[in-house]
């Protein structure tokens, strides 16, 4: 039973089938970060995937750029309730990066420059669902939006798309990351409104 707020009519922007429940459309690109924006030079940037047997798969910026690059047209949904439809990114599919990675672990902790972390099931990163993105709407990704490279996992709330990504660590259990330890949902499906724990 909902409480009615007297005189509230709302803007009635048609929700449409592309907008998950409780979200509103924005043309802006709001920024949400827990701390200062780290400065990461592409010359120093490195990305690695670390498996349970401590094997390290590492890519430099140039090595990543030599991989097949995909264009991704997608909608993004932030837990703070804005959604942005029809964004265009360029990046490398996680399928490409995981091609030679052997692991039996089913979960991943994403680590960022600056110390941010977020946890995801491995299956949410594979089969064309996730990328390392370095371009947004035709421009190099701005530092405040996670540049030079961020994780892009658009089917989950956007805090899962870790900015300033530096590596993925395979884990046996689904350990909570930064926001997941601070009251937010462990999985974060916008269509089921999995905002808070």
């Amino acid at each position: 039973m909902a409480v009615i707020s007297r005189g509230f009519t709302g803007r009635r922007r048609e929700p449409g089938p592309d907008l998950p429940p409780g979200q509103f459309l924005t043309r802006d690109f709001p920024v949400l970060s827990a701390g200062p924006t780290p400065e990461v030079d592409t010359a120093d940037w490195q990305f690695s995937i670390r498996t349970d047997d401590a094997t390290l798969h590492t890519w430099s910026w140039d090595e990543m750029m030599a991989l097949p690059i995909e264009t991704v047209d997608t909608d993004i949904h932030c837990v703070t309730r804005w959604s942005k439809l029809g964004t265009t990114w360029r990046g490398v599919s996680l399928d490409t990066l995981f091609a030679d990675v052997e692991t039996t672990d089913e979960f991943v902790m994403a680590h960022s420059y600056g110390g941010y972390t977020t946890n995801l099931p491995l299956e949410d990163l594979l089969d064309g669902k996730a990328w390392l993105a370095f371009e947004f709407d035709g421009e190099p990704l701005e530092p405040e939006h996670g540049g030079p490279v961020r994780l892009l996992v658009p089917h989950l709330y956007f805090w899962k798309s870790a900015k300033w990504i530096r590596g993925l660590e395979m884990q046996q259990q689904d350990e909570p990351g930064f926001w997941e330890q601070n009251g937010y949902h462990t999985y974060g499906d916008p269509w089921r409104e999995e905002r808070y724990s």
Binding site: V3, F8, P30
Partner: protein, 233 residues
């Protein structure tokens, strides 16, 4: 959770302080936020997050700035009256918070309505008569646009060091500079990095981006600079 508006007052020309009576409010830490959900008579709903200016249980105080093309903030700042009802969910967020037991000095830096969660921290600090050094650097467009200006002036003193920045116009008695915060002013006003303060920065995105980068350049440990941003980049 159902909430009833118990009191409203104008904080600035575009902002309003709203006191909510939330019978089942479990209390909140200083700096946390909540979700407000509005429902129209025909069932249409809209929800947004707002920082909480108060601490403790029962009464919850928000200070909301109007976003001209917004959906929820115009209602909260122009239409709402005591007795009106809405729903809240919270408290939310466990990162941008100050806990009374913390012993390190605290530097608060607010831009515009970004002072709201910092207000909760200053109020808790004052209510506890805490000996932890607290400093506030508050940047507002004009003195009229400053949220909680009088209360901040009243709290200012040995327990709370306050530096005001006015980007357009100060109060009549103001003899300081007018203009945007600079790195030099910031460096002179904040607790030095050597004292290892906990730093909380909240405001519009460009303000927080500039302040947080300067703090890092001035030697502050990025892990001790907690930020909350609003608006686009």
């Amino acid at each position: 959770m159902a909430a009833t508006v118990s009191k409203t007052s104008y904080a600035t020309p575009s902002g309003r302080v709203i006191e909510l009576d939330v019978p089942h409010w479990p209390g909140n830490l200083a700096g946390q936020h909540l979700d407000v959900r509005l429902t129209s008579e025909d069932g249409y709903q809209a929800a947004r997050s707002y920082s909480i200016a108060s601490v403790g249980s029962g009464l919850v105080e928000l200070a909301v700035d109007r976003i001209p093309d917004g959906e929820v903030s115009p209602y909260l700042t122009m239409d709402i009256m005591p007795g009106d009802q809405l729903e809240v969910r919270g408290p939310l967020g466990g990162w941008f918070v100050w806990r009374e037991g913390a012993t390190e000095p605290v530097q608060l830096i607010g831009g515009g309505s970004g002072v709201v969660p910092l207000m909760a921290m200053m109020r808790q600090h004052a209510a506890a008569a805490s000996a932890v050094p607290f400093r506030l650097l508050y940047s507002a467009r004009t003195d009229d646009d400053a949220f909680y200006a009088k209360e901040i002036d009243d709290l200012a003193g040995p327990a709370l060091d306050v530096t005001w920045i006015y980007t357009r116009k100060g109060p009549g008695s103001w003899t300081g500079p007018i203009g945007r915060l600079t790195r030099e002013t910031l460096a002179a006003a904040v607790i030095p990095a050597a004292e290892n303060p906990a730093v909380f920065v909240c405001g519009p995105t460009p303000f927080v981006e500039a302040v947080a980068s300067w703090l890092v350049e001035l030697g502050h440990d990025p892990a001790r600079v907690k930020t909350e941003r609003f608006g686009g980049a």
